[in-house]
């Protein structure tokens, strides 16, 4: 399969909202997220001829690159920001629905690993197999951990509803 500009444009339109949403949720910084989005795509285009599926789709690969870019950005800025509800997603003032607030609260009770799972599953909308590839984990492990995270979230939601 060859990828031309039109196809890439379509791919951008399909993937970028998820990828950007994911990056904003991770970095909690829209401008940084934009930079990371750009660098992710650039690296992807450069490395596209070398891309090997190995069981995961292109979006999964893109998210793997994005995760790596985030890590490098954190390393450069020498910070590992803790989850702070006050600051979290401050660049998204429109996310003030009841559900959004509830989810933000219940996510704060999860570990960073579990939050990453939730992001990849529900923001990036990736299948479990692709998440497993991105996180270098077993399919079953991902499934179990996601299940536990959801159970934990559910119990929190039930307690605070």
């Amino acid at each position: 399969m060859n990828l031309d500009r039109d196809a890439l444009s379509k791919l951008w339109d399909e993937t970028t909202p998820k990828l950007f949403g994911y990056l904003v949720n991770v970095t909690r910084d829209k401008s940084l997220a934009e930079d990371l989005l750009q660098s992710t795509w650039l690296k992807a285009i450069e490395a596209m001829p070398k891309f090997k599926s190995r069981g995961a789709g292109f979006p999964a690969w893109l998210f793997a690159i994005a995760r790596n870019e985030c890590r490098q950005a954190w390393r450069k800025s020498n910070r590992e920001a803790a989850f702070d509800l006050e600051q979290h997603d401050k660049a998204a003032p429109d996310n003030n629905s009841e559900n959004q607030i509830l989810v933000d609260q219940l996510l704060s009770n999860l570990s960073e690993d579990d939050r990453e799972l939730i992001r990849l599953r529900y923001i990036a909308d990736l299948p479990i197999n692709d998440i497993a590839r991105i996180l270098n984990l077993n399919f079953v492990t991902v499934r179990v951990r996601l299940h536990r995270a959801l159970v934990q979230a559910k119990s929190y939601a039930a307690k605070h509803s």
């Binding site: 750009q38 529900y122 590839r133």
Partner: protein, 387 residues
Amino acid sequence: MSKPNHMPRNIHNILTDWGRGKRRSPARNEILKAEILTRVPAGNIPTVNHSLRRLPWLSFAFTSLAAIILVVNAVSVNYSSRTMMVSAPTAGVREEGSGSFAMPNSIVQDSRNSLIRPWPSPSPGGSITDTREFLKKDYNAQVRTRKIDELAGRIQTMVRGYDGRIDGYSASEKYGYVSFAIPASKLEAFRAEIKSIIRAKFYTEYVSSQNLLPQKQSIEQEQSQIEKTLGQLRADRDKLMIDHKKTLSSLQSQLNAANKELAALRAEVTDDPERRAQIDARIAQLQPQKITLESRVYNENKNYEANLVSFDSQIASAESNLEAVEKQDQNLLDNVATVQGYITLNWISLWEIMDLYLPGPLLTWILGALALTAYLWHRHRSHLLIP
């Protein structure tokens, strides 16, 4: 996209809505997009088809092979055991070696999975009324070891320690052999010690015993017969002596009477011609009688001597036979009290040791390990390469 069915719908819906709400395009979406598209080189970007899921086919292949070998092995084991069931009656013991004590060379071949016929062949038993047991035991064992010379030396020391005797010994790099004899009373202790120095998986023994009652009964019958004959001969000899004495005494008394009468007749002096004629006639009558009697005495003595010699000879022969039978009896008892045995030592490779310890065929385990390796390799290769 499928969701886990077992989770409550509401939390999924909430998170799905949340995730959807988080998706957004950047403010400079069109600028960024244009910038990215300008970086795309003229022409097409070759990509790899990513729709195909890569499966660990190599791992599947190894696993399948292992399963096939396992099944084939199980089937062949069942078949061979069924074949053995329809064969001639056997001792029901596993053979290590040929089971033949007379041919130690044949034990070298490994025939662990075959059954042997009892050896020595059981002889037809006698009446059940005789329940004595004269068990002759034979012992052989096959030991697999990596130190043949050292173990052969230890076995010899053990045999001598149990008042045994070494009958043969050989040891080479791959094969060793010790044949010996030990007292039957010490066999169990000997076996226990052998087992204590060799792991059970490397040691297979074969102990056979046969009741030598038929031989014992035969010896006893022969002994009884000889004793009976001997008694009869002695009685006949005694009777001969008594009869001879009686006969001789009778003849002697007749002879004495004849001699006495003859002497009296010859001593008588008479002028009476009639009396003289009577005396002469009587002397003429007694003279042949005396000769006959003397002849009978001579013959009696001669016959007696001959018969006595014959009896003595027969008695001596019977006594000799009795002694031989008694010796045979003692030999049998000694034989029962002695255990003939041999132990063969075969070198074992590490593969064979693994085969002994692992349940099922070794090849299955190797293929299993290969399948695992292939799977791990596949997993390693499955990691996404991030530029």
